[in-house]
């Protein structure tokens, strides 16, 4: 179970002994420069590829990438040649994911930068965006790496500002946005739950029973049915529970069986480059 107990994967020991070795001093700088050089070379080669080869390259990469997880899964746990690579690959992907944040920041800064630059309508809001963004970044790093408070529980200036920005503002904005659902669920129920058709009525009926079965006020309605009699099933809380655990869970299982197969089919098509559509058929 422990990751240290997993046997090294195929060639993993070789890599960690001979290739991916921590280096220091000039060797480190040399390795970095070497990697940059190789990367530059690869980039040059890549940009020289003719369109047909580009497509073939993509198909191959997608296939190999998918093959990795497929083989890892179908090969038995004992002596699995790939399991050892799961953790390094996970780290690799997460680090890559972090570097993609820049794409989002560029997008946000272009849109809001334009608004502030042109003083277009609502530019004040865009300025507020920048102020909030820089404030939490600056105070975040400052309180993390700057002077620490003398007494536990006390705040430095940066710590206090971060507290105001994060606990005061962010931690209020987020749950309040979430809590708007209480209003929207009410107005949606009022507007949509009308006895118009068989389907709408069934949905309304089930929602009605479950809602009543959840609060004391609703339970009183049927509390005259003795809980140990044969009719106890019709007590609202029991009936509500039965709909949820009997019908509802079976229906959701049916949906799940459908979606997992749909997902499997879409994955197979993507993996084998059989998928048709805008992103795959576009000329390169």
């Amino acid at each position: 179970m422990d990751r240290t107990q997993t046997a090294p994967a195929f060639l993993q020991e070789f890599f960690s002994k001979h290739l991916f070795v921590p280096l220091h001093g000039w060797a480190f700088v040399g390795a970095l420069l070497g990697t940059l050089l190789v990367a530059g070379l690869l980039f040059f080669l890549l940009s020289a590829l003719p369109p047909l080869a580009r497509r073939r390259l993509m198909k191959t990469l997608a296939f190999v990438a998918g093959l990795f997880y497929a083989v890892e899964f179908f090969w038995p746990e004992k002596g699995n040649p790939l399991t050892g690579y799961l953790i390094p690959l996970g780290t690799f992907l997460r680090v890559m994911g972090c570097f993609a944040i820049g794409l989002g920041l560029i997008s946000l800064c272009t849109v809001h930068g334009k608004a502030v630059g042109r003083r277009s309508e609502g530019w004040i809001n865009s300025a507020a965006f920048f102020a909030a963004f820089f404030a939490i970044v600056v105070f975040g790093f400052w309180q993390q790496y700057g002077k620490q408070p003398v007494h536990p529980g006390a705040y430095t200036f940066a710590g206090g500002m971060f507290h105001i920005l994060f606990i005061g503002m962010y931690n209020s904005l987020e749950p309040t946005m979430f809590s708007i659902l209480a209003f929207f669920i009410t107005s949606a129920a009022y507007r949509a739950f009308r006895v118009k058709s068989a389907e709408a009525s069934l949905m309304l009926g089930a929602a009605f029973i479950v809602m009543l079965g959840q609060v004391p006020v609703g339970m009183i309605l049927t509390s005259w049915i003795p809980p140990d009699s044969g009719f106890a099933f019709f007590r609202l809380e029991k009936l509500a529970n039965w709909i949820l655990t009997g019908v509802s869970s079976a229906a959701f299982r049916g949906i799940l069986f459908g979606t997992v197969i749909g997902n499997l089919a879409l994955s197979l098509r993507t993996w084998l480059s059989l998928e048709k559509g805008a992103y795959f058929d576009k000329p390169l």
Partner: protein, 263 residues
């Protein structure tokens, strides 16, 4: 489950085989039927409505990014954008995952170009809002109000924010079409949207729109796959019942259930 147990080692290749065989069959050109899915039929009509009103379209791909479920949403974005480009309208796509930005930019640019209106593409319509669920929701609510969108599409993975988005759409009077495999959010889309594509219907969207043989074949394969699961459930239930009723049959039932439960 970390690795395939004996049952999965049989079931998964079987299901994959059924899907692939049917894709090959469809490629050779057998005539394939597909039932009506009203939610997908409504896409064109919803785009048309926005154009009549002269207001933009908003397309939310949910909380996903570069994953298989959202991949399908990208295809629907492409379809909607092509229709919108034809009618000289535009499609605003707010996103959660920054990696989706390059994908969507290419898709929209391509869609406008294919309708001979490359100048209609505006990179600012692909809007990264936030990778935080509710900051994203707050941003989409703002966009819906300020742009007075006439049509909303919700295709992809959704969580609790589904109702925030779709109910706001109701408030601004938009026509709404939703599709999601996130089963728990379907009820909220049903009560707020004009059309809702439920569960696996979502995975049928591209096949339904494009009538591409590969996709239609895959859909037939999926049906066979569901049939396999259905038969498994019925046979398993019957065996369990027989095992419970007749003690002599119990060992047989137990072996079967144990095999399926992962040995």
């Amino acid at each position: 489950m970390k690795h395939a147990d004996p049952f999965m080692a049989v079931l998964l290749p079987l299901l994959s085989g059924l899907i692939l065989v049917n894709i090959l069959r469809a490629r050779r050109g057998s005539d394939l039927f597909i039932r009506k899915i009203p939610g997908i039929d409504a896409i064109g009509e919803a785009v048309g409505r926005a154009t009549e009103m002269g207001r933009p379209i908003l397309f939310s791909i949910g909380l996903g990014g570069i994953d298989i479920v959202t991949l399908l949403a990208f295809e629907v974005v492409a379809h909607v954008t092509r229709l919108a480009a034809r009618y000289r309208n535009r499609v605003i796509v707010p996103v959660v995952d920054p990696v989706a930005i390059p994908v969507l930019e290419e898709i929209e640019r391509e869609a406008f170009a294919s309708e001979h209106r490359p100048e209609g593409f505006n990179a600012d319509d692909i809007r990264f809002l936030s990778d935080s669920q509710f900051a994203y929701a707050a941003g989409v609510v703002g966009i819906m109000h300020r742009e007075q969108v006439a049509t909303n599409f919700f295709f992809g993975i959704f969580a609790a924010e589904s109702l925030i988005l779709a109910e706001t759409g109701q408030h601004v009077g938009a026509v709404q079409v939703a599709g999601t495999p996130s089963a728990l959010q379907v009820p909220f889309f049903i009560v707020t949207c004009d059309y809702t594509v439920i569960g696996e219907e979502y995975y049928a969207t591209t096949a339904y729109i494009s009538r591409e043989p590969v996709l239609l074949g895959s859909l037939v394969g999926q049906d066979w796959g569901k049939l396999v699961l259905l038969v498994l459930a019925v046979v398993g239930t019957l065996l369990t019942t027989l095992g419970a009723a007749l003690p002599t049959l119990k060992p047989v039932a137990d072996v079967f259930v144990k095999w399926i439960g992962g040995g």
